[in-house]
Amino acid sequence: MTKPTIMFHNTETNEIVEREMNAEELAQWESDIAYYAAKAELAKAEAEAKATQKAALLDKLGITEDEAKLLLS
């Protein structure tokens, strides 16, 4: 599998070099991606848990979400 690439643009000389990431760069990139992916998963899980709790509460009350909004308006 081809490694991710990194491009260097020196704007003072306008020199552009593109190459595959070295081991250190690749490790950093994987770490960055993994961190944000985990964070996104966590956010998604929290949102889903919140939605589940909300649905359970509405079910217990025997009303729909629209009816709950109407009650609170």
């Binding site: 991710p4 690439t5 990194i6 491009m7 260097f8 643009h9 020196n10 704007t11 003072e12 306008n14 593109e18 990431m21 760069e25 950093q28 990139w29 960055d32 991606i33 961190y35 944000y36 992916a37 996104a40 956010a43 949102a47």
Partner: protein, 292 residues
């Protein structure tokens, strides 16, 4: 007995005619003689009434010395037009009740500025530089990571414009990092909202990079491109570098997302590098401007 001659008799005997000449009128050679003074006008000599006013517009009356003095005093306190010698000359106060001439600047574009060291308190000076934009670089994004080296000397801020940045596959995230610094020195928060998802606020956090956006992709469920801008403030002042990024994602299937990222970079050096990388391969164009 001889009657003594009176003074009247003597005059009666001596005057046998009175002839009036301008401005007198009347006269005669016998009997009661009347002599008058004609009224003076601008076309004839004559008697003139005095007018003690500086407001009258009469053309038949004469001014009193008092009204003349009033007019003189007013004129004496006025600014003489002879103070002005050339085009662009300005009359400015140099002290209490004192007026001086300030000649126009010899250099086009100069502005009048305050300078207490000048006798007039003013001088012409070149306008302070500031606010101008200089395009430092245009970078076409490619691959996964793009490291852009910048020379910020002489600029206060950087303005980064993102034009149609794409991710090559779905669920792509787009990141930034200053100075290739992988320490936890990017302190940022983010407000974001994308269609199909609830609005989300990311509290400020210390990271090795900052997230510009996510949800990039190629299918209709993702946003195909982002455009927006980022200000990087005080790029050479290591204690006060801050950034604010605003981007809009969009595609042709009514998908859109709004991301507002802001924070500080706890820098040990001026900003000389901006690395833009993605979870997937990137394309698009990034313009970096120096702001004085």
């Amino acid at each position: 007995m001889t009657k003594a001659r009176t003074l009247a008799d003597n005059f009666a005997a001596d005057i046998n005619a009175i002839t009036a000449s301008t401005p007198l009128t009347g006269g005669g050679t016998s009997g009661t003689v009347t002599v008058s003074i004609q009224d003076g006008t601008t076309s004839q000599k004559g008697a003139v009434q005095l007018e003690d006013s500086t407001a009258s517009t009469s053309t038949t009356k004469a001014s009193t010395p008092n009204s003349v003095k009033s007019a003189y005093d007013l004129a004496n306190g006025a600014i003489a037009k002879s103070l002005v010698d050339a085009k662009g000359d300005l009359l400015v106060g140099s002290a209490n009740d004192t007026v001086s001439r300030l000649t126009v600047a010899s250099t086009a574009g100069y502005l009048l500025s305050v300078d207490s060291a000048e006798s007039t308190g003013l001088k012409w000076a070149a306008p302070a530089s500031g606010g101008s934009l200089t395009l430092l670089s245009t970078t076409t994004l490619t691959g996964t990571s793009n490291s852009i080296t910048i020379a910020p000397t002489g600029y206060v801020n950087l303005l980064v414009l993102f034009r149609e940045v794409h991710a090559a596959s779905n669920n792509g995230t787009f990141f930034g990092r200053f100075n290739a610094d992988t320490g936890s020195n990017h302190i940022y928060g983010q407000w974001r909202k994308y269609m199909g998802g609830a609005g989300d606020f990311q509290v400020p956090q210390n990271q090795s990079s900052f997230e510009i956006t996510n949800q990039l992709g190629t299918s209709s469920a993702y946003q195909s491109a982002l455009s927006g801008s980022m200000d990087v403030f005080r790029v050479t002042d290591t204690s006060k570098i801050a950034f604010e990024c605003r981007v809009l994602n969009f595609n042709d299937s009514s998908q859109a997302g709004w991301y507002h990222t802001y924070g500080n970079y706890n820098a040990s050096a001026a900003i000389t590098n901006l690395t833009l990388f993605g979870s997937q391969n990137l394309s698009g164009t990034v313009y970096i401007y120096g702001v004085k």
